[in-house]
Symmetry: C2
Subunit: 480 residues, 2 copies
């Protein structure tokens, strides 16, 4: 986030007012929908009531923090969103664009012309501009770069050269650095020359004359040390540092684990080139867990809640297609036993129970494992242990719930055979679910794939086809 909206500007009233504001903004934006065209053209409104609503809406929006404006925009359908965006404070536009999700950012940028976009990115820090650059029209990026000095242009280019999942893509260039051979008093005097220190500054970086990082001076030590102490005697030397090519999720885990607020980023010659901050890492943590959740459910990416129908269809079709294929396989498994079903129609009614409990149980196993992997708690070597435990759980559940359903089946169909097949099939399918629930994420991880992606669809596929095969197979062998 840019420096204009620093932490100190958020007031208590912001916090308490937000939910009320959102509701009122929704109402007002909806009421203004009929005059959408006039608002877009900046034409005056003839209707006095609507005009009053417009004025009220503008005054609420003027008070909103950019992060809150982002939340408001995310929660509005498209036309209302464009109205609100049109009325927002232009000087906040850049900050809001940085805060919204990719999907919503696209819709906002589409509604802006070149001059509006240039104005929005004008005062932006180099790292933030680099963040946005991929989503902006090429022409806008080129013109925005021309207004920067050489150093900033280099910074933007550097930041843009890293993939989104690398530390380089989220680092900023606002680090404050000093030399080791000065007194703390000198550092304090140097700091006083700033108008304000960069957000989140909890440590000063200590470098040599080649800009090589040799330590950090925590502010909480600087403030308590003797002014005559030399920096080199107070600083910490062997500190956590990152390279721009490091994985950003691993960096976020290090921040979480070691309670960091900022950390230096160095190049291959150990030169200080930037820093990463906790606010970016919090976003990474949030996005990572969300992505896992969405991926497990078979959504390709974060979706604008109010995306056009066609965009949503595109975001979802892959996993639906996969699901159809696996359902087709399951259907063919049943098809192979049509002769058995024709003889004992009860099998058709009972088979979804076997498949369903397998899917449910498998999803429990796989979710637990995906989570443990995301936390770095599960390494390949432990897979065998886990498998044994999950098979144990499956055996207990299978015998327990299988017996319950077996008794129900006997009561319904007056056949002991059906009951016994039910117990056996449920137990076996739960064992299958446990085995596959452990193996799918472990194997995906081993081959360098994200264990969360579509794992829920995959396990359901196995437990459906497997469940039908086991149940109908056992019934064919023992009941016919």
């Amino acid at each position: 986030m840019s420096i204009e909206h620093s932490v100190e500007e958020i007031t208590q009233s912001d916090l308490e007012r937000l939910p009320l504001d959102i509701a009122r903004i929704h109402e007002l934006a909806e009421a203004l929908l009929p005059v959408y065209a006039q608002i877009e053209d900046n034409a005056p409104l003839s209707d006095e009531t609507l005009n009053r609503k417009l004025v009220e809406l503008m005054s609420i929006l003027r008070e909103l923090h950019p992060a809150d404006m982002a939340t408001v925009l995310e929660s509005l359908p498209h036309k209302e969103r464009v109205i609100v965006w049109k009325l927002a404070e232009p000087e906040d536009d850049g900050d809001v664009l940085l805060e919204v999700s990719y999907a919503v950012r696209e819709t906002l940028i589409e509604s802006m012309n070149k001059d509006e976009l240039l104005a929005a990115v004008e005062d932006m820090d180099a790292d933030d501009l680099a963040d946005l650059a991929d989503d902006l029209p090429h022409q806008v990026v080129m013109e925005a770069l021309q207004t920067r000095d050489e150093e900033e242009r280099e910074q933007v280019k550097a930041a843009m050269s890293y993939r989104d999942d690398q530390v380089g893509a989220v680092m900023d260039f606002e680090q404050v650095s000093v030399r080791a051979d000065v007194a703390c008093e000198v550092v304090l005097r140097y700091l006083r020359r700033f108008d304000i220190l960069p957000n989140h500054t909890d440590k000063i970086f200590v470098v040599d004359e080649e800009e090589v990082l040799i330590g950090v001076l925590p502010i909480r030590k600087l403030l308590v040390c003797d002014p005559d102490d030399m920096v080199e005697d107070v600083m910490a030397r062997d500190v956590v540092r990152f390279r721009p090519t490091d994985d950003v999720e691993e960096a976020a885990q290090a921040f979480e684990r070691y309670d960091l607020v900022t950390a230096p980023v160095i190049d291959e010659h150990n030169k200080l080139i930037g820093r990463i901050t906790i606010d970016e890492m919090v976003d990474v943590i949030r996005e990572e867990s969300e992505a896992d959740m969405l991926n497990m459910a078979g959504l390709q990416e974060e979706e604008d809640l109010f995306a056009p129908v066609w965009d949503s269809v595109k975001n979802r079709w892959v996993w639906l297609a996969v699901n159809l294929c696996t359902a087709f396989v399951a259907s063919r498994v049943i098809g192979a036993f049509e002769a058995s079903i024709a003889q004992i129609v009860a099998l058709a009614a009972l088979m979804p129970i076997v498949a369903g409990i397998g899917g449910n149980s498998g999803n429990q196993t796989i979710t637990m494992i995906v989570r443990a992997m995301a936390m770095g708690q599960l390494t390949g070597g432990q897979a065998m242990h886990l498998l044994k435990k999950e098979l144990g759980v499956a055996l207990v559940n299978g015998l327990l719930w299988g017996s319950v359903m077996g008794i129900v089946a006997v009561a319904l169909y007056h056949s002991l055979g059906i009951g016994l097949v039910m117990v056996a099939a449920m137990t076996l399918n739960l064992l299958l679910a446990a085995a596959v629930g452990v193996l799918i994420p472990v194997l995906l991880d081993k081959f360098g794939r994200d264990p969360a992606v579509g794992s829920s669809v995959l396990i359901t596929a196995v437990t459906d086809s497997g469940g039908f095969l086991i149940f109908l197979g056992l019934a064919t062998i023992f009941l016919l």
Copy 2:
């Protein structure tokens, strides 16, 4: 986390070595399993090879940061875990207990005797002791409290009086406060009297003589201001503050939204009573997304990866039982159409396709909505809009994929009627999935329930029974 392990002590080598260390610890702990009893009794090992391994294990463990020790313990099966815990540095025990998950904490505490527990909590901050207190034997808590002074005892009791989901449960008491009517120079001199400032100190709290919070003085301003400036001229007045009864997830969202590092906690008379810090909030954010993920999959709570089979069974049985009930309902729906199936056995093979795609699509919808609700992006007023959009997506997907499967069905069973029923049933079941996928979380939220809990099981129940009913119903009407 307690103050002994401050940020400055984490070294770069910690970070790079961790994955290697974990693998080696696993190996060593496994190798030492046969002498589990001797290690537990602190008896010397006769086997020289094992003894060398024991020494190596101890030396690795001695270097571990408590947060890394926590990760190691989470990733170990029970017996190995007890060995490692036995060998860990006793002075870190308290920090490690604070870092591990509840499930694992329980197993660790069980393996410690009273004296070990007392030693572990001896130097702990009041807020951390309060955190642990629920999991510790009552006797240990009482004795630990007796060694504290009156103020600390009050703090522990205060922190323990709040629910886990309240700000009061995560606040600490390490805030630094000053008066408004002094010069910044005086503040700097006052700070210099500390040995070190508390972790994460990014602002000094400003209070009046009644301890009422009147503003905050950001360190980044204090360091740049003129030493003669008065605090009241430099401080920010209307800042974000929390009450101990505030919802901790909402506080975490405010931290995330406004990029906070610390924030004051005040009582009903606006008196400063503590502070909350970003490291606690990061944990809240992580736990919140995890809980959503686990709950959607039908796990009651975070589970120790290596929990005894019986504990895991208990954690999972509720949703399995719910699933069985819903599967039973679905089974009875099919049972009602047994006469139809007996006439056209192909129906039995095709019906899981209709149910399956409904479940998959419904899960996509519900996951997206649960996520939007967790982010505060979805208010009740928008439900109608969303419903329309999701129905639109369902209609497109239903006609598209319904037609594909319709053609496949015609090809397999040479009946145009079956194909048409397939198209209609898939479209209708997707529409049902969309409607229920929006309504379940919206209604759960409206009635104050967590929209994530078991929503996946609920939607699958509806799309299964609904899919069977629609498909078999249409087939009975049009094909018989």
